[in-house]
Symmetry: D2
């Protein structure tokens, strides 16, 4: 199985099978080892500052963590031999997890649509480090962060 | 107005008026300048790893961020003159916000009830730094973190 | 006094008057509010891993912290009215300081010359946030980081 | 070889064979898997703020990073079978390294003697996480931090 259909399958799993992603409305819109992307739409339940209607910092942290994890997973999957059985790939991914996360909040989370992107900075067979950014639909930078992930 | 009734009022506001806190079920259970505490109960919507039923890292980050913000706000409120009008206190609080957050994930988020505690490490009239921990009902440490908050 | 001669003066002060910068050999090579740069040359005293001759992580952290502080200071200076007396500028700078620093180590610190660059991500009148990178002379990324600075 | 003589040997190596530790004057004063300790004495070369004679933030970062690395190494060594050959232990240690470091600066670094302590928070066979603190001789907290270390 080549990595692309596998990534598509994992992407569906991330969108549909992870309850907290559904609760927030996070959706994988790009999933590759060089760059991954997650989007979500403003809704009243995501508010952290009621008078101003801006996003809760925890929503931002969740989107950044998910997006960094995606690019880390994609780099693991693309590093495996092409004939690795899907079950083995899935098992490998299930061992991945966030070790630590830093979020820098730059501007209040105002907007209609939010786009999180992630890039791999350090890729190893045990640990991966990703950098993430969150922009709104007008390309205003709202937050950025760094995540360290266990990948093996 | 002394700080205690004010803290009780702010605490109610945090529990009832912030939509994302209600979505997750976060509840302020202690709110003072030396230590603050936030609790929540496991529910299926908070799952990040479906096969194992463990908390999403974003839930953990949200609880830590909220709890660190509480202790920062409490230290601001207790530092104000006792006769500060409530409206002025609320306005001062509304200018508070997270500058940056680090979360260290120690163990998978398994449990029925989760308790987050926070302590102030650095308290200034512009910036406060808090340390936070998340344990489950068996006192297992699940995550800890540090938050830097704008407070003035 | 316009900001350029002032920046040149501060830059000399950073190179010559700060003992720990001299001990390591850190030198300001670019100093502006959009990008700042610090360079240093490999020498045996900077080694952290003797058998391999690579930089100590503390050298990397020092260079990143200094470079982030520079760009934060430059943004403060350029934000002041042009006729601000030098003494007042210096006093304002002396109140600046690092609140927190994150360093991500990407590759072992091998090289002859090391170049640290920094950019401002968040600029306010109380707190500034900078992103920094350390490369060697072959443009290999060795480390990157984020610093939060008190600026007012 | 039991772990104690080995730890004593590694401790000597850290004090004498790492040039940057000697340049600053960092000395291992306690080295165990539950708590490790590093001390150093104020000297003019460590100054970061000349008028006030306070420590450079890079000195603080170096001491915290070294101390966190020590407790991570000690936990690796104590986890190995008691009859592991010293050469194999040393080889295992040489693969250890800092993945990321966060430093929170609490107070200006004033003092005569500085004591850094570290505790293990997460101990695994691939990654360890340590928490560190720096106090002066009067037990004033100057900085604290968290380090994530590759240990296998």
């Amino acid at each position: 199985m080549s990595s692309s259909p596998l990534l598509a399958q994992i992407s569906r799993l991330m969108n549909e099978q992870i309850p907290f992603h559904r609760l927030i409305g996070l959706e994988v819109t790009r999933f590759a080892s060089d760059i991954s992307e997650v989007q979500f739409t403003w809704k009243p339940e995501l508010i952290g500052n009621a008078p101003q209607g801006i996003l809760h910092g925890g929503v931002t942290a969740t989107a950044l963590d998910m997006c960094g994890g995606l690019v880390a997973i994609a780099s693991v999957v693309e590093g495996l031999p092409h004939d690795t059985p899907a079950a083995e790939v899935i098992q490998r991914i299930s061992r991945c997890g966030t070790i630590d996360l830093r979020v820098d909040y730059v501007r209040p989370g105002r907007g209609d649509t939010f786009i999180t992107t992630s890039h791999i900075i350090r890729s190893g067979n045990k640990v991966a480090v990703a950098r993430m950014e969150l922009h709104n639909q007008d390309n205003m930078l709202i937050a950025f962060g760094t995540g360290t992930y266990m990948v093996g």
